[in-house]
C-alpha cells in the first residue's frame, strides 16, 4: 500500500496506469463489449468506411474492425501475460539455482545466456516458433524462452548478492538444504527486481508478439491480432487506408502505456533512479 501511495504522486504514471487498466478491462470483457461479432463474415458489407454502425469500418470479409480490435486486445493480453509468466517461470528458477550452485555449472550457464542475449528477441522468437508452431501456445513458448535470459541474469545476480548475507550464510552453516534456502531466504529478495523487470519488458513482449503475427508466424487467422490485422490491411492500403487506424492506434497506445507504467513502477520502487533522469 505504501507502493500505491508513492505511485500516486507520479501523474504521468498514474494517467497511463489507468489507461493500461482500462485496456486490460477491455481485454477481460472483450466477449461482452464487442459491438458486433468479430468473426461474422458479411460479404454484402465488405470495405465499408467508418460509419455510425461500424466506427472503424469493415474489412475484406465485411467483419467489424472495432470488434476485431477489441478481441485482438484480449488475444494480445492473453499471449503476452502467459509469455511473461513463462519467461519468469523458466528464467528465475534457472537463475536462482545457477547463482546458488556456482562453479562450472554457473560458468557454462552464464556463457550460454550471454550468447543468447546477443541475438535480438524477434530472431530468437522466430527460430523457436519454427519448432513450437505458429499457435497461441507456440507464441507464448517462443516469446517466453526468448526473454528468459534476461530473467536468468537478474535472478542469478540477486541470488549471488543474497548468498553473501550473514543470515543466509548462517542458514547454510546450520545445515539447511538448498531448496529451503532458495525459497525461504533468497526468493523474498528476488520478487521486487523480477516485478520491475517484468513490467519493463511487457512492452517488448507486446511489440514482438505483434511483429510475429505481422510476419504470419504468430496467432493465425481468423483469430484477430493487431500485427496480423495490419498485415492484412497493407494489401488494401490504396483502397481502404482506414483499416490500419484501429490496430495501429491500439498497439501504440498499449505499448506507450506499458512503457510509461514500467518506468513509473521502477522509479517508485527505486527512487534513487529518478534523480539522474
Amino acid at each position: 500500500m505504501e507502493f500505491l501511495r508513492r505511485y500516486r504522486r507520479d501523474t504521468v504514471g498514474l494517467f497511463f496506469g489507468v489507461l493500461l487498466l482500462i485496456l486490460y478491462a477491455v481485454a477481460l470483457t472483450a466477449h461482452w463489449i464487442t459491438p458486433a461479432d468479430p468473426m461474422a463474415v458479411n460479404l454484402r458489407e465488405v470495405f465499408s468506411p467508418p460509419s455510425a454502425k461500424h466506427w472503424l469500418g469493415t474489412d475484406q470479409f465485411g467483419r467489424d474492425v472495432l470488434s476485431r480490435v477489441i478481441l485482438a486486445t484480449q488475444v494480445t493480453v492473453k499471449v503476452t501475460s502467459f509469455a511473461c509468466l513463462f519467461a519468469v517461470l523458466v528464467g528465475v528458477p534457472i537463475g536462482m539455482f545457477v547463482g546458488y550452485r556456482g562453479g562450472w555449472v554457473e560458468a557454462v550457464a552464464m556463457r550460454l545466456t550471454d550468447m543468447l542475449l546477443i541475438f535480438p528477441i524477434i530472431m530468437l522468437a522466430i527460430v523457436i516458433v519454427v519448432v513450437s508452431g505458429p499457435t497461441e501456445t507456440g507464441v507464448v513458448i517462443a516469446l517466453g524462452i526468448a526473454q528468459a535470459p534476461t530473467f536468468i541474469r537478474i535472478a542469478r545476480g540477486v541470488t549471488l548478492a543474497a548468498k553473501e548475507e550473514l543470515y543466509v550464510e548462517a542458514a547454510i552453516a546450520a545445515g539447511s538444504g538448498w531448496p529451503h534456502i532458495l525459497v525461504r531466504h533468497i526468493w523474498p529478495n528476488i520478487s521486487t527486481p523480477i516485478i520491475v523487470q517484468a513490467t519493463l519488458t511487457l512492452p517488448v513482449f507486446v511489440l514482438n508478439a505483434s511483429a510475429l503475427s505481422y510476419l504470419g508466424l504468430g496467432v493465425q487467422p481468423p483469430t484477430p491480432e493487431w500485427g496480423q490485422m495490419l498485415n492484412e490491411a497493407k494489401d488494401h492500403l490504396i483502397t481502404s487506408p482506414y483499416l490500419i487506424v484501429g490496430p495501429a492506434l491500439a498497439l501504440v497506445v498499449f505499448v506507450l502505456s506499458a512503457n510509461l507504467v514500467g518506468d513509473a513502477v521502477q522509479e517508485t520502487l527505486n527512487p534513487k533512479l529518478k534523480k539522474r533522469k
Binding site: P120, I121, I126, V131, L215, L230, I244, N259, L260
Partner: protein, 306 residues
Amino acid sequence: MTRLIIGRLLFMVPAALGIITFLFALFHLIPGDPAIMLAGDNAPRSVVDAIREAYGFDQPLHVQYGRYMAKVLQGDLGISNYSRDPVVNSVIPRIINTAQLAFLSMLFAMIVSLVLGCVSAMYWNRPLDKVVTVVALLGICTPVFVSGLLAIYFFSIYLGWLPISGMSSWRHFILPVITLGAFQAAVLTRMVRSCMVDALGKDYIVTARAKGAPEFLVVFKHALRNALLPIVTLFGLGLGHTLGGSVVTETIFNWPGLGRLMVNSILTRDLPITQGAIFFFAMIFILVNMIVDLVYAWVDPRIRYD
C-alpha cells in the same frame, strides 16, 4: 590487445560449431517425419522411403549428425525444397541486400541519435530536452510495421513521391532505411542522452570547465569521448537489433533480403533454406558482437594500453 583479437577470433569456431549443432537439433525437434515433409503429405510410401534412404534419415542420430556437420563444414547447406538450388546460392545475394539496408539504417540511426542525444543532454531538463524525450518515447512505442505502413500510405500512395516496394533504385532505399533507422534512432537517442547526462556529471567535466574550455569542447570532446565507451556497445547492440528489425522491414517493403527469405521459407516449410538463413544470421550476430568488443577495447585506453 593482440591477445584479445586472437581470443575473440578463436571464439568464432566453437560458436559456429554450436550453431550447426543447434540447427541439426532444430531439424529433428520439428514435429513430423522429415522424409514425409520433403516428399509431401500425399506422397506414396515408396517415395517417402526412397527419400528417407537418400537423405540418410534411416541412420542413427549420431551418424546423421556427423554427416550434417561434415557437409556444412564443406560449405554445403543443402538444397532448397522448391527451387532445388543450393541454399548457399540463394542466401549469399540476400545477405548483401540485408547488409545494405541494415548498414544504411544504422548509419541514419547513429547520426540522428548522437545529435539528438547530445543536444538533449546539453539542455538537460529544459524544454528542448523534454521535446526530444517525448518524441523518442513515441518512436520506441511505434513498431516499424506501423510507421512503415503510415510512411507508405503518406509518401507513396497519398503524395506519390516514393516507390512502395522493391530495391531497384536509390529512391527505393529511402522509406525502408528511414522507417527502420527511425525506430533505432528513437531507442538509441534515449541511451545516448543518458550516457551523456552521466558523463557531463563527472569530475573531469568540472576540470575542463575550470580550464576555461568553451562549452562545445566540454560537451563534444570531454563528455562525448567518454560517453563513447558505453555508446559503442549500445551501437553494437543497436546493429544487432537493426538486423532483427530488418526481418519485419523487409517484409513490409518486399525487400529481397535474408530476413524475408527466412520468413518465407518458414511459411512454405522450406527447411534447408530456413536452416541456411538462421546459420548466416547467427554468424553475422556473433561477428558483429566480436567487432563491437574489439572497437570497445580500442576506444578505451584503459584496455588498449595495458
